[in-house]
């Protein structure tokens, strides 16, 4: 970079010619002219100084911009951790560890059988540095048996590997960029650009009159635009600093700035900036800037992997990214590419043979339009949103922050595979129009609310509409647990065995119309216990119960659970006339999975500066919002949903011992298929449906639950183990909810909040049983006196 120097100002010294007063008009005219010129020069000089300032400021700012790096949750290994040999090997490969029998350097490993010898890399985390270590890990029965520090000969209680980098972005750019250094750019690209756009790039000073004329001549001769008259520097100025307005004044300004730019900076710096800045395409509202991003967008490959025929195509795009769009105007694009290749040969920068090979290729464009620099666009989107919520744009800018996210890399990649595959098979099985079935999934840790995986599209790689965060759809029966929780929070009136009325109800709406909900099986089931109504998702019982409780109270429960979107307190709310995004549903069910403690879902753990100073932690926070005892009761009912109710097909994929808890959700005409549920370690919400809102032919159970179960089968390792609260007791009851004992036929134990258990005895309990019970109670009191 050139040292800043004061631009030499040229001022013309005005000398008045000594003439006689015989020609006064001419003298004064010349004076006027000279003074005008002087003023003009001063203005030009001042304006130049201003432009100089603009050019340097912006250039410095953008040039030295560092990407914010986003890391996944680091894998922490300890004795007993379920981890197979192949999983550990995959992790090392993902972290770019090399095989080396001597462990020659940090970042190497070597395996013999079930024993890994690893030399780890150093890494600076938010809470300190993890030093490089020589480690031996032994795996037995798919779990870590031991971890030893071979240098010190000690056991290692906890080993934290460096995290996988899952994305990077430039906070000051709304759209993703992939910035490249000039040293990483393929020579063919540089040669191509010079050839086609600016032959004298290395010789001129920013503007080249010679270029303009030569290009004009060449274009006339060729009968087409083979050369550009603007230099690369001028084009850079156009892209970088100025809007697309084309006028003579703009051209002049552009020329001045190009000269200033060349004055201050080296050719290579300017070329690098050009390569990273030039406009190369549009996809809807997203513009593609820079060859790094263009390479990924058109070819789904990094720039340094491109072959000459691909490079030439991109070079050809510079003149007109829409006109020569290879996806929409393939023939034109090919013609242009071939022209570029021929010119390069003529200039002697490309061997004949390579040109001939290159010309044999078609456009060779990837069918997949990758718009993101990250493999996990939906998750990165979430990170960006959470960051922008907490940081002002200026604070985030250009500083190369290290963002430690909650993403579980292995889990996300596994989930993506299963999600894609399952959607494809559902598409086929139910004869849904190909490509129309869409979906989203959010997975969190059951305790703590960290978001470990996000999928926003049936094609998880695709960076477009992020359905996990933005597809706001009616939730249907997913709302029901809130109704039942409202009831159970009132133990003096409602218990799990309270009988409620599953019979027809008709309500007059504000419009005057009657609302007459129906059960899914169109039947009425009469008096049913509360737990059964939820297990089998009876609509009539839910509405009857909800109306007894009063809809505003149910609304309040939803708000306590964490729903922040506006809720309309109409009876239809009771059956799910509430639209939420998958992540909002996850937030709501997180409170149930967390024993009644609200914990805000997070995608970021901590942020450090470029030089590894701790900047910001996002610590774990909880807030008790509903009675843990009521939630316990509800969760046992949600377990029944899975064991005997609408969610039971999950146990085709997972062992019953998992004691899963969850709820299916289906909306009118099967437009939305939902499932929300948790195991011991993870909570997951799945939505399936069509973007055009046509019926998807899937119920919550036949669609979303299938995806959920298959994913949980792959990732979950822990059963649901509800901690029984101190004020909850188990009581035997008969099918009508009367007190019984284990000798009664059809008697079952249910949990009750102390003091709410049924008092009325079942006839099956004889007088002896009752007396014994009374004696037992008295005995207990006697002891406690």
């Amino acid at each position: 970079m050139a040292k800043p120097r004061n631009k030499p100002k040229t001022t013309k010294k005005v000398t008045k010619p000594r003439k006689g007063k015989s020609q006064p008009s001419r003298g004064s005219f010349r004076r006027l002219l000279f003074s005008l010129i002087a003023v003009a020069l001063v203005v030009i000089a001042a304006y130049s100084a201003y432009l100089d300032h603009v050019v340097r400021n912006q250039f410095e700012g953008k040039r030295w911009e560092l990407a914010a790096n986003v890391y996944a949750n680091p894998v922490e290994v300890y004795q007993g951790l379920p981890l197979s040999i192949s999983q550990l090997e995959t992790l090392l490969v993902d972290l770019h560890y090399r095989r080396s029998s001597r462990l020659a350097s940090a970042g190497t490993y070597h395996r013999s059988g079930n024993v890994f010898n690893i030399r780890t890399r150093v890494f600076d985390f938010f809470d300190g540095r993890e030093e490089s270590k020589d480690i031996r890990i032994r795996i037995n029965s798919n779990a870590v048996a031991s971890i030893k520090n071979t240098r010190l000969g000690t056991d290692v209680p906890l080993l934290r590997f460096e995290p996988v980098q899952v994305g990077s972005f430039y906070p000051s750019h709304k759209e993703d960029r992939i910035l490249v250094k000039i040293s990483e750019v393929p020579q063919t690209l540089i040669d191509g650009l010079i050839t086609i756009e600016d032959r004298d790039f290395y010789q001129h000073y920013g503007v080249s009159v010679k270029s303009i004329f030569r290009a004009l001549w060449a274009n006339i001769k060729a009968g087409g635009v083979v050369q550009g008259g603007s230099t690369l520097t001028q084009q850079l100025v156009k892209n970088f600093y100025l809007s697309s307005e084309r006028s003579l004044w703009r051209k002049i300004k552009e020329a001045m700035m190009a000269l200033i730019l060349e004055y201050h900076y080296q050719k290579d710096d300017i070329l690098e900036a050009y390569i990273n800045e030039v406009f190369l395409g549009q996809d809807g509202a997203r513009s593609i800037n820079g060859f790094g991003m263009a390479s990924v967008f058109y070819f789904n490959q990094p720039l340094n992997a491109l072959k000459p025929h691909q490079v030439a195509l991109l070079v050809g795009l510079v003149k007109g990214p829409s006109y020569y769009d290879p996806r929409r105007h393939a023939k034109r694009a090919l013609k242009r590419r071939d022209l570029v290749l021929d010119e390069m040969v003529r200039m002697g920068v490309l061997p004949d043979q390579q040109r001939d090979i290159a010309k044999r290729f078609s456009t060779d464009i990837s069918s997949f339009k990758r718009l993101s620099s990250s493999r996990f666009p939906a998750f990165l989107d979430l990170v960006k949103r959470q960051l922008s919520r907490d940081y002002k744009e200026e604070e985030l800018s250009s500083d190369g922050l290290n963002i430690f996210s909650t993403l579980d890399y292995t889990l996300q990649t596994q989930t993506e595979k299963i999600f894609k595959k399952t959607l494809q098979s559902l598409n086929k099985r139910y004869g849904i129009e190909p490509g129309k079935l869409q979906g989203a999934m959010v997975i969190t840790r059951r305790e703590g609310g960290e978001i470990v995986a996000v999928i926003g599209d049936r094609n998880p790689d695709f960076d477009g509409f992020n359905r996990a965060l933005d597809a706001v759809r009616p939730v249907g029966s997913l709302v029901k647990p809130a109704v039942y929780l409202t009831a159970l929070s009132n133990p003096s009136h409602y218990t799990l065995t309270s009988l409620i009325d599953d019979s027809a109800i008709s309500l007059k709406q504000q419009s005057g119309e009657l609302w007459e909900p129906k059960n899914y099986d169109k039947k009425e089931h009469g008096q049913v216990p509360l737990h059964a109504a939820l297990t089998h998702s009876y609509n009539l019982a839910t509405v009857n119960l909800g109306m007894e409780l009063k809809v505003p109270r149910v609304k309040r429960t939803l708000e306590e659970l964490g729903v922040r979107r506006e809720i309309k307190p109409y009876p239809s709310l009771l059956l799910g006339a509430l639209s939420l995004s998958p992540i909002e549903v996850a937030q709501m069910y997180q409170t149930l999975a967390g024993d009644g403690f609200f914990t805000p879902l997070r995608s970021i753990q901590s942020v450090t500066s470029n030089d590894h100073r701790a900047l910001q932690g996002y610590p774990l926070n909880v807030r008790q919002v509903v009675s843990p005892s009521a939630v316990y009761l509800l969760n046992t009912a949600l377990q029944s949903v899975m064991s005997t109710g609408t969610g039971r097909s999950a146990y085709q994929y997972l062992p019953r011992e998992y004691s899963l808890a969850g709820k299916t959700g289906t909306t009118d005409e099967l437009r939305d298929s939902w499932f929300a549920g948790f195991s011991g370690d993870y909570l997951a919400v799945v939505w399936l449906g069509r973007d055009d809102n046509k019926p998807s032919k899937l119920t919550g159970a036949s669609g979303a639950l299938q995806v959920w179960s298959k994913v949980m089968q792959a990732i979950s390792k822990q059963a649901v183990n509800l901690t029984q609260p101190e004020d909850v007791e188990y009581i035997w009851v008969d099918p009508l909810g009367r007190r019984a004992n284990e000798f009664c036929a059809d008697a079952v134990q249910y949990p009750y909040i102390k003091g709410s258990a049924p008092i009325e005895y079942s006839p099956c309990v004889g007088s002896v049983g009752r007396t014994l019970k009374r004696a037992g109670d008295w005995f207990n009191d006697f002891l406690n006196e």
Partner: protein, 177 residues
């Protein structure tokens, strides 16, 4: 007093006669698990139907992990690290260590109690109360820890100026002695 003795005698008599397994029931399958549930590892693992799965799946899904009741060395190490940071007044770093511990043993009530302690040190009283309550929910049966939590809650309420709530919490702590 006499009638009481008669009833007591009757009870003892009946105890001898009757099969008193009534009051030590493991709850029936429907209705969830009780406090000291049997963990699956004690029964034979169920085999799951094999479906056409990807290479990574073996078709047999192992039963879920047995919950570890003693603290893992990993957790002990992290708790120690958090303690060190806390003593140096580096509370956000202490929290980060404790969160790593939560990821490893999410149901361990002691970790949640430590989180509450740090929040108290940071003068984040409401957060401290919530975290201590969460610890209590997970600590069913552990009176010592519960008492400790209630005392922490009482302190936090006092510092918030809510003396009623503080007294209630102190009473709860006392009742656990």
């Amino acid at each position: 007093m006499n009638t009481k003795l008669i009833y007591l005698g009757l009870l003892i008599l009946l105890t001898g006669c009757a099969d008193l397994s009534m009051y030590n029931q493991v709850p029936a399958p429907i209705g969830g698990t009780a406090q000291h549930g049997n963990y699956p590892a004690e029964r034979a693992p169920a085999t799951v139907k094999t479906y056409a799965l990807e290479d990574e799946q073996t078709g047999y899904m192992a039963p879920p992990e047995v919950a570890v009741t003693t603290e893992r060395p990993a957790v002990v190490a992290l708790l120690g690290g958090a303690q060190q940071f806390s003593e140096q007044g580096q509370y956000s770093l202490a929290l980060a260590k404790l969160e790593r511990a939560v990821r490893i043993s999410p149901k361990n009530p002691q970790i949640w109690s430590e989180l509450a302690k740090i929040r108290l040190a940071q003068q984040q009283y409401e957060m401290a109360i919530s975290l201590a309550k969460k610890s209590n929910v997970l600590a069913a049966g552990d009176r010592v820890l519960q008492r400790h939590n209630w005392l922490l809650i009482a302190d936090s309420f006092s510092l918030l100026g809510q003396t009623n709530a503080a007294n209630k919490a102190k009473n709860k702590a006392a009742s656990l002695l």
